[in-house]
């Protein structure tokens, strides 16, 4: 599997190929913890937030919310403790970048978290990792131990007045716990149901205290932003989407992997056909889901010759979105009805069951998909599915309901023939 940068110098992936890249020693040899030192010795918390704002870094967890702005929502005068929580739940189908960041460069995450903790005044921080990533928790725990022993974590970090702790926490198998408020419920030892917003976590999050939840990739971008300055980081990408972005590429390409691309990389066709080694077995490209399962699926002809720019705005213009950067490539052998059924089963399995439309709607949709797959399709089913999606979208308690609807809506719209095929009885509609 490929891991590396294309079209720019690697930032987050700079050390991943070094031997013992996960060790403190190697990390420090390659400039590690210099940003933390810089922050602790020469910057105020507000300076840090302002650099992050200048960097135009947008959250890499999927929602793309500007990170600096999120940090600035944390009330400064709150008497309550504050928390930085790293979202390492990474359960979005097609997404696996956080895994390699933590596996290969755990200290980068620790450094990023500590900088965030300093900016926000957090004394306790958690890394919420999905339960299946047990080996990553072990890696993180060892790295945390190393950092603690080296005075980089815990009391009086680097001999300054700043003290902060980072702990790992394990999930136990629930995609919804990637949603930030569900994550906080889970971290409090409850069922992983999302919570009402407002209040937003920045005001009332973990233990009803101000909390910032950020994705692994978001936090690991921070040390570079501090090192090179927010503006320089932003310039690597576009005006509204600063820096570089990791893409987890899977499916029918010759070279799947984790690709670090500058934001605004053009174009998607070149990315698939050249950077990713082209289509597996020379087959025809049929569809791409560019941002993890929860985004609109794209037809090959929306990509080929269309110069789709790979950043937030470019992908929206191209008919989809960045999401978590889980880039799933499908060739002509894939039946989009089947692939959509597969994802719908995923959402049904992962619906937390809290709200009516998502719980009942995904269950119903799966039943319709199964019936059609078993040859019991009816012509009106397509309309039924679209209407069910419409009834879920925008009405559910959290965005999972929307995420379940979008793949179906876009698939039906963009690959009607794959659906129609299944609804034909004796060759007729």
């Amino acid at each position: 599997m490929f891991i590396g940068a294309i079209g720019c110098e690697p930032l987050q992936l700079a050390r991943v190929h070094l031997e013992h890249s996960h060790s403190l020693e190697v990390y420090q040899q390659h400039g590690g913890y210099a940003s933390l030192r810089k922050v602790l010795t020469s910057m105020s918390p507000d300076d840090v937030i302002s650099e992050v704002k200048k960097s135009a870094l947008r959250g890499r967890g999927g929602a793309g919310f500007p990170t600096g702005m999120k940090w600035s929502f944390v009330p400064k005068d709150s008497p309550k403790p504050k928390y930085v929580v790293c979202n390492a739940d990474e359960s979005e189908p097609g997404t696996f970048k956080d895994r390699y960041l933590m596996e290969r460069d755990p200290h980068l995450l620790i450094e990023g978290m500590l900088i965030a903790a300093y900016a926000l005044g957090a004394k306790t921080n958690y890394i919420y990792t999905r339960g299946e990533y047990r080996y990553l928790i072990d890696i993180m725990d060892r790295a945390l131990e190393e950092a603690r022993a080296a005075g980089l974590l815990g009391a009086k970090i680097l001999g300054t007045e700043f003290s902060s702790e980072v702990y790992t926490h394990t999930g136990a198998g629930a995609y919804i716990c990637g949603e930030e408020t569900a994550l906080l419920s889970s971290l409090e030892g409850l069922r992983g149901h999302p919570r009402m917003k407002p209040p937003f976590p920045a005001v009332s999050g973990l233990y009803a205290s101000p909390t910032v939840v950020n994705n692994v990739e978001t936090l690991t971008a921070v040390p570079d932003i501090i090192r090179m300055g927010g503006e320089a980081y932003q310039r690597l990408g576009t005006e509204k989407s600063g820096g570089t972005k990791l893409w987890s590429v899977s499916g029918h390409v010759n070279r799947p992997g984790v690709y670090e691309l500058p934001m605004g990389y053009d174009d998607m066709e070149k990315f698939i056909m050249e950077d990713c080694g082209g289509m597996l077995g020379g087959k025809q490209l049929k569809a791409v889901i560019p941002g993890g399962s929860s985004v609109y699926i794209m037809r090959a002809d929306q990509i080929i010759g269309k110069d789709v720019r790979m950043d937030y705005e470019g992908l929206v213009a191209g008919g989809s979105s960045v999401g978590s950067g889980g880039f799933i490539v499908m060739n002509e052998t894939v039946d989009i009805f089947e692939s959509t059924k597969n994802l719908t089963e995923f959402y049904k399995h992962e619906s937390c069951g809290w709200c009516t439309p998502c719980r009942e709607g995904t269950d119903w949709l799966v039943k319709v998909f199964k019936r059609i797959a078993n040859g019991g399709g009816r012509p009106e089913d397509v309309q039924l599915m679209l209407d069910l999606c419409d009834n879920i979208e925008g009405k559910s308690f959290c965005p999972l309901g929307d995420a379940a609807s979008w793949p179906i809506q876009s698939a039906i719209k963009r690959f009607p023939e794959d659906f129609r095929k299944h609804l034909m009885v004796n060759g007729q509609n």
Binding site: G131, H169, E188, G189, Y207, S250, G251, T333, L343, F346
Partner: protein, 176 residues
Amino acid sequence: MSTQLINIQPMSQPVDIGDEVASFSSEVEAEIDSHLAKYPVMRSAILPLMFIVQRERGYLDAPGVAYLAKRLHLRITDIWEVATFYSMLNTTPVGKYHIQVCKTLSCKIMGEPGITEHVCGKLGIKPGETTADGRFTVSLVECLGSCGTAPMLQIGFDYHENLTPAKVDQILDALP
């Protein structure tokens, strides 16, 4: 209304809670303490502790649940509601080796059906079942974050990726 005529889906409700409370070695207790020490609120440690109980006792059995309730000062219902929410927590026994084959999209298009068929054929069970000797349970699970190295399966916590039937044989045969 006669209920016998309809196909009954068993509910994931474990056995009655007895009076027995599990106990653990001092090392395990120390491990549990180290988790509790991380949080200002005890209840937060529920998932890490459940994994420990599950590791030590095979699954969240009644004495294990009673232990958790006692240790975390929670009600039995609090344990039950959490245990049944998360897919990695087992409230019924599973085999010594829990083989979890990822069935989500990337794995699916990269050959999961063949892998599942091979594993199940080799063990003589269907997904969701446990072999008679209690060694293996096979489950189909949702995306495990190995899409770039699909198809894959996880045994316990160990990732096995870029699978072929031959590689599956090797892995299974090497298990102690």
